[in-house]
Assembly symmetry: C2
Homo-oligomer: 238 residues x 2
Amino acid sequence: TGTPLAPLLAESGLDDHAVEVAFLGADRGVQGEDEHDYGRSLAVVDAMRPEVLLAYEMNGAPLTPQHGSPLRLVVPGWYGMTSVKWLTSIEAVAEPFEGWQQAVAYRYTEDADDPGTPVNRIRVRSMMIPPGIPDFFTRERIVDAGPVTLTGRAWSGNGGIARVEIGVDGQWAIAKLDPPVGEFAWRGWRAEWTATPGEHELACRATDTAGELQPLHPVWNYQGMGNNAVQRVSVTVR
Amino acid sequence: TGTPLAPLLAESGLDDHAVEVAFLGADRGVQGEDEHDYGRSLAVVDAMRPEVLLAYEMNGAPLTPQHGSPLRLVVPGWYGMTSVKWLTSIEAVAEPFEGWQQAVAYRYTEDADDPGTPVNRIRVRSMMIPPGIPDFFTRERIVDAGPVTLTGRAWSGNGGIARVEIGVDGQWAIAKLDPPVGEFAWRGWRAEWTATPGEHELACRATDTAGELQPLHPVWNYQGMGNNAVQRVSVTVR
């Protein structure tokens, strides 16, 4: 719960010199030998999107300190580093913001010297509620033989969810999507599985409306950013 | 927020054969090669204490799944394993409850074969809000020279907080206690420190009204249970 940012920017007289809007938070520290307040920016066109909020409540209660009270930015569809907590300033800037968290930290890079490309929208991803019960230490799951309804969620920052597939021992089948509950909400899904005794590997993967499919294995980058490889769940059926 | 357990036990006709009250939760799994629902018990005298609650709300909102909705046990002053989540049954038993989480898991033991003694009430402990700003990777703190107000909390399951001390480079001084806000609430404390340039180690330690003082180093036991050694914070003053 919050107030849309765009009307505030419009009312404050944002002009044609502005290329970005920079957001600073109250969390100060030293990272990469650079002392700074946590800060991130958005291109003006992204900052003006109607879904971008300044949030002060969550689930009907005031925002808690750990979620960024009294006021935080919320940018649906972007990775969480974008949604600056404990906001202290919002400034339209005529040059690209070069703060450490923008220019250095959150980048897809090949090595320590690569300037790379910015991390921005959330890559398509899905997760499954592991069926059955866990083994405490291995986290493997134990499932009784017979019909099992697998359920989970899928999401993407680049559009809606077009398809979710369930993999059982590497064989993929289409899951049923629940009705969408909002443009930026997780999309529920479910699939029926007849569990047969023995060891199995379950997996799920989503495709978004932009046509992107989750990779079977993590796509390497120097900092391990934006990993959206498929989740795999080891199951023993008894 | 919840309802006291004692009146419910009284109304249900708890009789002299009952030695303990056993609580089972919906979280089932395999631990120690034993498949079981998470379960814990309390001696009748402990279960009947007025502060023991069946909770269904928290901070004015319905209990969330991760906190044990729809109903969980809350036993103030005891380590968290006592406060069984996702309650499915409450049963008065005529013999001590021997569930795995009671008889095997939460014990102070010397080795794998030692039956040990039960973990129960929370040992006296205190924590400090680290002053200044962090270095991201080392978590050391950077503080400007001059007056600094150190603040934190102290608590004990064995009575109130009698004293909190602040250690600066191994020299201890008494902190000022905030007014108590409740029998089972954290006790706030504060202390003034004049930060001088260089490297320092800050620490805090509490003594409870039962006369127990936090140890300077962890007291060894086989499972590392109940560690209440003093917190130490490395600080560089500039």
